[in-house]
Amino acid sequence: MTATSQPAIEVAGVSRWYGNVVAVNDVTFSVQPGVTGLLGPNGAGKSTLLHMMAGFLRPSSGEVRILGESTWGRPDLYRRVGIVLEREAVYGGLTGYEFVRVNARLHGLDNPHEAAMRAIELVDLGPAKDRRTGTYSKGMKQRIKIAAALVHDPAVLLLDEPFNGADPRQRLHLMDLLRQMAREGRAVMFSSHILEEMERLGDGVLVIVAGRLAASGDFRAIRRLMTDRPHEFLVESSDNRVLAQALLGDTAVSGASLEGDRLTVRTDDFTRFTEQLPRIAQAARVSVTGLSPLDESLESVFEYLVSR
């Protein structure tokens, strides 16, 4: 759908601030056709960035280009761009079919009916197309919004948290659909704060933390970075003191602290640690009764990526 020499999406030195608050800070990247995920914790600036890509927000500095054209103040660009925002608002008084058809009409398509029917089939909402969207579940609203965004067959698709509210079956179906869009040569960019969604869908990933681009590239490489980072675990056992001494003899363990009954273990090699812990405990004749990560929140993973 797009020429390979020209990136589908280019974000060049883009910042956006609201008064003294910096929402996006000097972000630069470019995206080729395929599925690209925009990953980051809530409030990281993903939505602000997507709004700027969609031409709905003006960058405070820098420029966003889609298919070579600046996105701000260029309504003609919407002939080639489809947008799904996170908020689930739809025209509640319209049926699903009417909603998609009115979007087709607003795009000035020659055959709005045919385009609407095709888009509705793509999102698997045919049986519910004559129901008012006000009666749809959250997942159905999300799908009808995606149908409306696909109705004009765009070359670039921007989706803000598209799987919110979808049940697991719908989620898989939508993921297949987006993959198919990408195979057909489209650039699909979606934002999410859920690692598993990125893992299943994103060919490439851009990690946004506190308004900055913290990492970008192949998801597997970034996932490895995330896995291999130092981890901290709370360990519960029949004899924490003996276990701490035994663990410190292994190269996977970089530190252990015992405060009262509480044993905290730090490792720089996650894989080896999880393999060795049972063996070490067995050798020391200690029973491990609990093992829980202390820093597994997405925010702590992102903080690690930023600090690198």
Partner: protein, 245 residues
């Protein structure tokens, strides 16, 4: 694309509960007219219709309230609930959105207020002197509702609380300030509307006389409509969709 947005807006406006409330508001002058018909003996029907019913109740209250509720909902409601992105994310110049919204707001407002004038006018003036008053006020409220619609659509793009600001304009500025400070009537859509009615009607001045002459009133209605529409277009061109929307 204007017809598509126009029809979409009409559907949105007509399914709102507050539009139903406006229809109830529009029934009040008809009830007043019936009450007059049944009880009043001292006031002539033409004088009551012109000053009490049309100017006093419909132009003072029904017209601005209807235009305010409809005009601020036409686009403001879409901004508030987030559906405006379906219009802004289309290959349309934004002026087409404003024109369609003003036209839809005008149509709904005019339908409610004109029906109110015609029915209450029929009740009070059938078989009486001053029958042309009804036509004069139909023309006047048609013109006035266009200006109010453009004003309130513009207001809804600029302010999140356009309804409250509009209420202050209608009940404080137009109803109080402009009535008691003579120079200020030039800044009142209500005064322009009455001026147009005065220009179209054939009743003598002893029955109905507006404070503003018809010529300036019509000119000011046109100027305010054009300026507020241009302002609305300018605001929408610069409008940014917050991620909270």
């Amino acid at each position: 694309m204007i017809p598509a947005i126009f029809v979409l807006t009409l559907r949105q406006l007509l399914r709102q509960r507050r539009t139903l409330l406006l229809v109830l508001l529009a029934v009040l002058p008809v009830l007043l007219a019936l009450l007059f018909r049944l009880t009043a003996e001292e006031v002539t029907p033409a004088r009551f219709a012109a000053n009490g019913l049309f100017a006093g109740f419909i132009v003072n209250l029904v017209l601005p309230l209807t235009a305010l509720v409809v005009g601020t909902a036409a686009l403001g409601q879409e901004i508030e609930d987030g559906t405006v992105v379906y219009l802004l994310g289309k290959p349309l110049p934004r002026w087409t959105i404003v024109i369609a919204k003003v036209a839809a707001a005008w149509m709904v407002t005019a339908a409610v207020v004109v029906a109110c004038v015609v029915v209450s006018g029929l009740v009070v003036l059938t078989g009486e002197e001053g029958y042309g008053l009804t036509l004069a006020f139909v023309v006047a409220v048609l013109a006035g509702s266009l200006t109010y619609s453009a004003l309130f659509v513009g207001l809804s793009i600029r302010f999140g609380r356009a309804l409250i600001i509009g209420l202050a304009y209608v009940f404080v500025w137009e109803a109080l300030v402009s009535r008691f400070i003579p120079g200020v009537r030039f800044l009142s859509v209500r005064a322009y509307t009455l001026g147009v009615a005065d220009g179209v009607t054939d009743v003598p001045a002893r029955i109905f006389k507006a404070s503003l002459s018809p010529g300036p009133a019509a000119l000011l209605l046109t100027v305010v409509t054009v300026l507020t529409t241009a302002y609305a277009i300018r605001r929408l061109n610069a409008y940014e969709v917050s991620e909270r929307v």
